[in-house]
Amino acid sequence: MDAFLTSRIISDVLEGLTNGVIYGLVALSLVLIWRSTGILNFAQGAMPMFATYIGMVVFAHKLNFWFLAAIAIVAGFAVGGITERVLVRHLYGKPELNPIVVMVGFLIVLEGVAAAIWSTTPRGLPSPFSPIDWHLGGQPFALSPFAVYEIVTALIVMTLVACLFRFTKLGLQLRASAIAPEVSRLLGVRVGRMLTLGWILATGVGTIVAVLVSSNFFTGLTPQVMDGIFAFGFIAAAVGGLDSPVGAIVAGVSMGIILQFVGDFLNSNAIIVTALIILIISLMIRPNGLFAKSTARRV
C-alpha cells in the first residue's frame, strides 16, 4: 500500500473519530431519556442549542470560554428540568404518538424563538483550541488540538455518565425508577424527581455536544446547527439500540468513521444517504438495535 493511501486512511479514521464521538454523545443523551421515560426526544438537538445560545451569547461579555461553557451547561440543566416538569410530565402514559408530536412541536418552537431572538446568522464562538492540524514531519496529520479536546471531552463525559449509573446511589435510583417505577416508589425512591433528573442529565450531555459543535471554527452557532447532528445521533442510537448506552456510543463512533470514509472516497452528498441506508438495513435485520437484548412484549 502506498504511503499516500495509508495517510489518507489514517486521517479519515482520525477525523471520523472526532465526528463519531459527537454522534455517540447525542445518541447517549437520547438513550438516557428513552431509558428513563420511554420518550424519543425529538427536541434533543434544539434544547441544547437553546441553552448554548443562553450561555454563549447572552453572557458573552469578556468572560472566558470555560465560564461561558459552564453557564451554557447550567442553562442546559435548567432547560431540561423545566421541559420535563412543564411539558413532558403530562405525557406519561399517553399513546406513544403524543410525546413524539409534542416534542416535534417543541423543536420547531425552540428553533423559531432562537432565530427570532438571535437571528439565523452563524455566531462564531470563542474556541479554546486551534482547529489547525498538527504537522508530523512536514505532513499534516488530520488531528488538531481542537479535535483532541473534542475526543477527550467526550470520553470524560461518557466515563462520568457510566460511573454515575454504575457506582453511585443516585445512579441506582435512576436505573431502578426507569426499570420498575412502582417498586422503586414503594422502596422510597422519588420516581418523579428521578425522571426530571434523567432529563436534566440528558440535556446537560446534549449541551456539551452543542458547545463542542458550535465552538468549532468551521460551523459556528446557528438555530439549526443541531438538526443534522441530531439525525446522525438518532441513527446511531437506533442502530445501537435505544436501550443500550454502550450500543449508542459504539454505533456513533463507528458511524462517524464509516461516514468519513464515504465522504472522502465518494462525495459529501453521499454521507447522509449512506447513513439512511445503514439505518434502514440495520432496522430490517434487528428492529430493536444491534446491541439491544430482545425483550418480550406484554400483550
Binding site: 404518538l97 408530536v101 409534542v102 420547531i108 423559531g112 427570532a116 444517504v273 439512511l276 434502514i280 430490517m284
Partner: protein, 399 residues
C-alpha cells in the same frame, strides 16, 4: 311518507325552475348557460341523494360520491368569482389537504407517524418536472399518476423496515429521510437541477372553451389560474372520495385494528407487515400527488421548499385539524392556504418588527405552539373537539 316525497319533489322542481330562470337571465351565451345548468342539476341531484335517508343507509358509496360531487360543484362554481390570488391560495391549500389526508390516514389508521412527508412531496414534485422536461406533451392526469407511482415506490423502499418497527423508530427514520432529501436531490443534480430546481417547459394553460365562458375581458393569467385551481380541486375531490371509501373498507377496518391493538389484529388474521406497508405507501403516494400539484400550480419546483420544516408544518396541520378524519385534513388545508396571509396581516397590524427576525419565524413558532397545545389539551384536534361538543349537546337534548 308519501306526503313527504311529494313535498321534496315540489321543492326540487321549484329550485330547478328558479335556477333556470336565473341562468336564463344572467347567462350571456348559450355555452355559459349550459355549464351553469349542468352545475345546477348536479347540485340538486347531489343534495337530494345526500338528504334521502334510505339511500344514505343502503348505498354509502353513492352517498360519498354525491357529497364529493356536491362540494366539487360548489367549489368549482366559486372559483369563477374568486380573484386570481384567492384561487392560487385555494389551489395550494387543496393540494396540501391531499398531503394531510395521506398522513392522517397513516397515523389514524395504522398508528404510525411520518416526518418525511415533505420529502415525499418533493419526490412527486420533481417527478412531474423531470417527466415534463422529457415528454412535454403528456396529459396532466398521466403525469400525476406517474408522480403518485414514484412516491409510492419510494414509500415502499423506506417502508420495508417499517413492517417490523414499533414506536418512534419510523418517525425517526422518516425524519432522517427528510434531512437527507436535499443531499439526495443534489446527488442527482443533472436530473433534478440541484437546489435551483426545475422549470416546467410549458405552463398548464386553460383550454379554449374556458375562455369563452369567461368572455374576452379575462386575462390569460386569470384563466390559467382558474383552470389549474379547478384541476386541483377535482383531483382533491377524487383523492378524498377514494380515501373515504378506503377508511370504510375492509382494509381500513383492518388498519384501525392494527392501530388499536396489533396483537389482536394479528390474531384476527390481519397481516401486520402488509397493513403497515400499504398504509405507508398510500401516505407517501398522496404526499407525492400534493407535491406534483404544487409543481403544476407554481410552474416550477424548488427543492429547498421540501424541508424538514414543511414536514413539521404538515404534522401540525394534521394534528390541529384532527388525526384520522377527513374534515380535519380539509380544515388543515384551508388553514395552510390562508396562514401566510393571516400571519402577515397580524404582523402588519400589531406593529411587531415586520422586517425583523420575529416576523419570519412567526409561522414556525405559531404552528409548533399550536401543535403542542392541541396535543396536550385536545388530542383529536378541531374535528375531535367539535364531535365531542356535538355529542354532549345531543345527550343534553335527550335528557
Amino acid at each position: 311518507m308519501r306526503r313527504l316525497t311529494d313535498k321534496r319533489l315540489a321543492l326540487t322542481a321549484t329550485c330547478l325552475i328558479v335556477g333556470v330562470i336565473i341562468i336564463a337571465l344572467s347567462a350571456t351565451t348559450v355555452r355559459v348557460g349550459a355549464v351553469l345548468a349542468l352545475m345546477l342539476v348536479v347540485g340538486i341531484a347531489g343534495i337530494s341523494t345526500v338528504t334521502t335517508k334510505r339511500l344514505r343507509k343502503a348505498h354509502p358509496v353513492l352517498t360519498r360520491a354525491a357529497v364529493t360531487l356536491l362540494v366539487l360543484d360548489a367549489s368549482l362554481f366559486a372559483t369563477y368569482f374568486f380573484s386570481s390570488i384567492t384561487n392560487f391560495n385555494l389551489a395550494i391549500g387543496a393540494a396540501m389537504s391531499i398531503v394531510l389526508l395521506g398522513l392522517s390516514f397513516l397515523t389514524g389508521a395504522s398508528g404510525q407517524i411520518s416526518l418525511g412527508n415533505s420529502a415525499f412531496m418533493g419526490v412527486g414534485a420533481l417527478a412531474v418536472a423531470i417527466w415534463a422536461n422529457h415528454h412535454a406533451s403528456t396529459p396532466i392526469f398521466v403525469t400525476l399518476i406517474i408522480a403518485i407511482a414514484s412516491g409510492a415506490v419510494v414509500g415502499l423502499l423506506l417502508g420495508l423496515p417499517a413492517t417490523r418497527l414499533r414506536g418512534p423508530y419510523l418517525a425517526g427514520m422518516t425524519l432522517a429521510f427528510a434531512v437527507a432529501f436535499p443531499s439526495i436531490v443534489n446527488s442527482f443534480s443533472s436530473w433534478t437541477g440541484g437546489d435551483a430546481g426545475l422549470q416546467l417547459p410549458t405552463a398548464v394553460s386553460a383550454p379554449r372553451w374556458l375562455s369563452s365562458i369567461f368572455g374576452s375581458h379575462a386575462s390569460l393569467l386569470t384563466l390559467n389560474t382558474v383552470w389549474i385551481t379547478d384541476i386541483t380541486i377535482v383531483v382533491t375531490g377524487v383523492a378524498f372520495f377514494f380515501m373515504a371509501n378506503l377508511f370504510a373498507s375492509r382494509t381500513g377496518r383492518a388498519m384501525r385494528l392494527v392501530r388499536d391493538n396489533d396483537v389482536a389484529a394479528e390474531l384476527a388474521g390481519v397481516s401486520l407487515p402488509r397493513a403497515r406497508v400499504i398504509a405507508f405507501m398510500v401516505s407517501s403516494g398522496y404526499a407525492a400527488l400534493g407535491g406534483a400539484l404544487w409543481t403544476l400550480i407554481n410552474n416550477s419546483v424548488s427543492p429547498p421548499t421540501y424541508s424538514l420544516a414543511l414536514s413539521i408544518t404538515i404534522l401540525s396541520l394534521v394534528v390541529i385539524g384532527g388525526i384520522g378524519t377527513l374534515p380535519g385534513a380539509l380544515i388543515g388545508g384551508v388553514i395552510y392556504a390562508y396562514s401566510t396571509n393571516v400571519i402577515s396581516w397580524f404582523t402588519a397590524h400589531t406593529g411587531i418588527n415586520s422586517q425583523g427576525n420575529l416576523a419570519s419565524q412567526l409561522p414556525g413558532i405559531i404552528f409548533g405552539g399550536l401543535l403542542i397545545v392541541t396535543m396536550l389539551f385536545a388530542p383529536m384536534g378541531i374535528v375531535g373537539a367539535a364531535r365531542r361538543l356535538w355529542a354532549k349537546r345531543r345527550l343534553r337534548t335527550v335528557a
